[in-house]
């Protein structure tokens, strides 16, 4: 069991209402779990609880059986690689320098990077297809390249788990696919991943399990088939949504179709 | 682990602090005729092994022993320079401050810069076997540094007439010119006594000493100038203030109604008339022009020529009585 939340509640200090209310969920090892839900549902808060950045005010949040917030950051960083949101980088670090930071938990304070560390770094760069860009400044990279760099840095940490928060926001389809593919490859090789994403259809394609959050509560958890259902999604997103099973030219999957209220025949507001 | 580190850190910090407090001995210097001892090692008492060894204690508690009189003296005190020349030890002077102007022979002695924050380097380069300087926080670093190098240092206070006589005596003893020193002291006492006898007969005038006006700074009871004013037959309206150079306000001056204002002028410096100062006409002395200008140079030097200074003050204070018979002019004997 990688992560486990038990009836976890959390409220931010300056806020009136709780961001998470009594969420209980297990994220097993070796799976790719996607966390989806509307804005403000509490997805990022959930991730922070999983990582131990925040401590639940009630209930528990465990990583490998121990409260996540109790884990020394260094130990956590050796096991969990994080690809967070965050704006475009401002620090003119080189890509390789950026990725090398992934080795921080392993390197002793006054010591330089060792051979093994360098090997991990070049391995990570290769996996993320960044070898050509290694000596460029990260500020010069495109959005998709920056995300790949963050992923490479996470790889350099040699983690067993990846946690990604909106890794493909603002990315075009090619870059989106790249990221999801890399994560899927990671999981196939034996790792686990937790991805927070807006992209329902990619979550449905790539994830093994989905957690649907709404207003701080866990609305549904299970396989994509179980969670991506029209009635559940429409209710949670407060917008009519159709889910269509797709089987086209060998591509199987679920197609999530938001309805255009004014136009589409079945769901038009005007009486016909 | 973290606690242990913190304890260690604090312990280390405090041990360095304590180390800093402890004093450390210095390095040897040119083998000089004198040895230096610190006050902690005890006063010499009656310790002269040979007749010739002279012990002198300064105002920082250090005692200096001289088996022969110093040949290369650096004086960082203009008064000490004058005294040395007066008692005939001018030849032994090899360094003076840049302000030493008297006597004229002093300008032939090389200057080593400031007296108050002296350049240790300049002093040392004169290879002195005695350095005389002001005792005080500004010179403390220098006197410590010089002592560490092994140069004998006499750090003296020089703020009152008593200090003047004490320093004359010290310098006389150190240079082996005791009798000349005694004569100089006696001459000064006689001169001052003579002036006092005359001024006693004259009516006492209340005086405001205008040392500076922006802000108004005068002299208080703690300054030797106050005792000079008394000798000269005046009464300093601010003598009740202990500080040597207190900063006062126009209102405070007006409240004390000084009958005259003493206005020192220093060589080369232009001072604007007091009547130009806005608001000062509130003082009767200003309105009625009872402002006595005098040569500030003479008065400010607490040295062998101090009697000249008192005469100058007396002349200024009793300017309207100068026609009286028997009034001493500068340098003359009392009839």
């Amino acid at each position: 069991m990688s992560f486990e939340l038990g009836d976890a509640w959390f409220r931010y200090p300056r806020s009136d209402h709780p961001a998470l209310r009594g969420v209980s969920v297990e994220i097993p090892a070796g799976s790719h779990t996607a966390i989806v839900g509307p804005n403000g549902a509490g997805k990022t808060t959930l991730a922070r609880l999983l990582l131990g950045t925040l401590r639940p005010q009630s209930g528990y949040a465990l990583f490998e059986g121990r409260p996540a917030a109790d884990w020394p950051r260094r130990e956590m960083a050796k096991r969990v690689g994080v690809v967070a949101q965050g704006g475009p980088p401002v620090l003119p670090v080189s890509v390789i320098g950026f990725v090398e930071m992934g080795r921080n938990p392993y390197v002793r304070p006054w010591a330089p990077l060792g051979e093994a560390d360098r090997a991990k770094v070049s391995g990570a760069l290769r996996r993320a297809d960044l070898e050509e860009l290694a000596s460029r400044a990260i500020t010069e990279l495109s959005g998709g390249e920056v995300q790949r760099a963050k992923l490479a840095r996470a790889f350099a940490q040699d983690p067993t788990v990846l946690v990604l928060d909106e890794p493909t926001a603002h990315l075009d389809v090619a870059h989106e696919m790249e990221i999801f593919r890399l994560v899927r490859d990671f999981v196939d090789a034996g790792g686990s991943a937790v991805t927070i994403t807006h992209s329902l259809h990619l979550a449905g394609r790539f994830a093994d399990r989905l957690c649907l959050l709404s207003d701080g509560r866990l609305e549904a958890v299970g396989s994509p088939m179980e969670v991506l259902r029209s009635e559940i999604l429409s209710r949670v997103f407060d917008w009519p949504i159709e889910v269509v099973a797709l089987d086209h030219a060998g591509l199987a999957g679920l197609h999530v179709v938001p309805v255009d209220k004014g136009r589409d025949p079945t769901h038009s507001e005007e009486p016909t | 682990m973290a606690v242990k580190l913190r304890v260690l850190g604090t312990a280390f910090f405090f041990s360095v602090l304590i180390f800093q407090l402890a004093s450390s001995p210095g390095a040897p210097f040119v083998a000089s005729a004198a040895t230096v001892q610190r006050a902690e090692e005890g006063r010499p008492g009656g310790r002269s092994d040979s007749r010739d060894t002279v012990w002198v204690t300064d105002d920082e508690g250090a005692s200096v022993a001289f088996s022969r009189s110093p040949r290369r003296i650096v004086s960082l005190l203009p008064a000490a320079t004058e005294i040395l020349f007066e008692i005939g030890a001018g030849r032994e002077l090899v360094g003076r401050t840049r302000f030493d102007s008297h006597p004229p022979e002093a300008s032939e002695v090389p200057s080593v810069g400031d007296g108050v924050r002296p350049s240790v380097e300049m002093v040392v380069s004169r290879q002195p076997d005695l350095v005389i300087l002001f005792a005080g926080p500004d010179s403390r670093a220098a006197s410590d540094a010089l002592r560490r190098i092994g140069v004998p240092v006499l750090a003296v206070h020089h703020n009152t007439l008593a200090d003047l006589h004490l320093n004359i005596e010290r310098l006389g003893r150190v240079t082996g010119r005791d009798s000349a020193a005694v004569r100089l002291s006696a001459r000064i006492r006689d001169d001052l006594g003579g002036i006092r006898r005359i001024t006693q007969e004259l009516p006492e005038r209340s005086v405001y000493y205008d040392a500076w006006w922006h802000p108004p700074i005068t002299i208080g009871g703690g300054s030797y100038l106050d005792s000079l004013i008394t000798l000269a037959g005046g009464r300093n309206v601010f003598r009740d203030l202990a500080s040597p150079s207190p900063q006062v306000s126009l209102e405070a001056i007006a409240a004390r109604e000084p009958s005259i204002i003493l206005y020192p002028v220093h060589r080369g410096a232009e001072r604007a008339p007091i009547s130009d100062r806005p608001g000062w006409e509130v003082l009767g002395a200003v309105r009625e022009g009872r402002i006595r200008v005098f040569d500030g140079e003479i008065v400010v030097r607490l040295g062998p020529r101090i009697a000249d200074g008192v005469r100058e003050l007396a002349r200024a204070i009793h300017a309207d009585s100068s026609s009286r018979p028997g009034w001493p002019t500068a340098g003359s004997e009392e009839p």
């Binding site: 050796k78 006054w110 940490q157 | 180390f19 810069g113 040392v124 670093a141």
Partner: protein, 335 residues
Amino acid sequence: MKSSRSHAVGLLGLALLLVVAMSAALAVGPANLSLPEIWKALQPEAGESPARAILLWVRLPRIVAAALSGAGLAVSGVLFQALLRNPLAEPYLLGVSSGAALGAVAVLSLGLTVGPAGVGLAALAGALIAIATVFRVAYAAGQLDTRVLILAGVVVASFFGAGVMLVLTLAEGRTARSALLWTMGSFGQASWQMNIALAAYSLPAALAAFGLSRHLNALALDEESAAHLGTEVERVKKISYLLASLLAAAAVSVAGVIGFVGLVVPHAIRLLWGVDHRYLIPMSFLAGGSLLVLADAAARTVAQPLEIPVGVVTALIGVPFFLVLLRRGYARKPL
């Protein structure tokens, strides 16, 4: 982009610069010793002489003190800029200098004959009180909020600054001047004893700061990412604050307030060699030391035998140099 080779060259070059600066500083001074004289006097076989005394007991202590202080101030600047995420942060922003000034000025004004070591200790005490106060205010619920830190620092600095002004107003004229001169910064009080204490504080602190380099690099991204990379953010912030304050306090207690080094040196290094703290810290250490050694040499020779405050020189040298660097543009130099 700057390779690690260019970093190595930079480090070597700066180390060389420090050595050259120290040697040059040893060769200049009011005593005007010629190079052959200096060379001869430094030989181990050479006996005691004024030249040797000047070199080893007057100049060298100052040079070492300047090097250590400058190095400490520069590293302190790097740490504060990392901690506060603000390129304008400098060691004296958070009340260290005001606290130290109050301690020193208070002791000087009380007229206690404690000597420069005592003044230094009082300064250190004042600095530590200021540091502790700011820390107390900004540290709540296990977190060091950097915005509160800046505000608290500025406010505490103003408070102690007001205290300094109060003491100066009430103090005797001469003490006020010496207190003021102290605050302007000078290495005239340097001694080997003080240098040992200074080294004992500064060198371990600088070394510890260097050990934090990777974490500081991570913090430069943002706090949450740094935590994900294994950095104990609160602990690193606390340690950085304490190290930076200690370095600044040690420097201030030896030499008074010398601004500018902590602000400008880190920026100059960043402009030339990038933002990686693993190089930024050692390079700032060397560059800061060189700058202050040269500044002190200039301070004691340009108007010799008078000495101008070192802080004035660092500003006069530092500002034009820095403006030139800025004009060349903040070139994007990746790590």
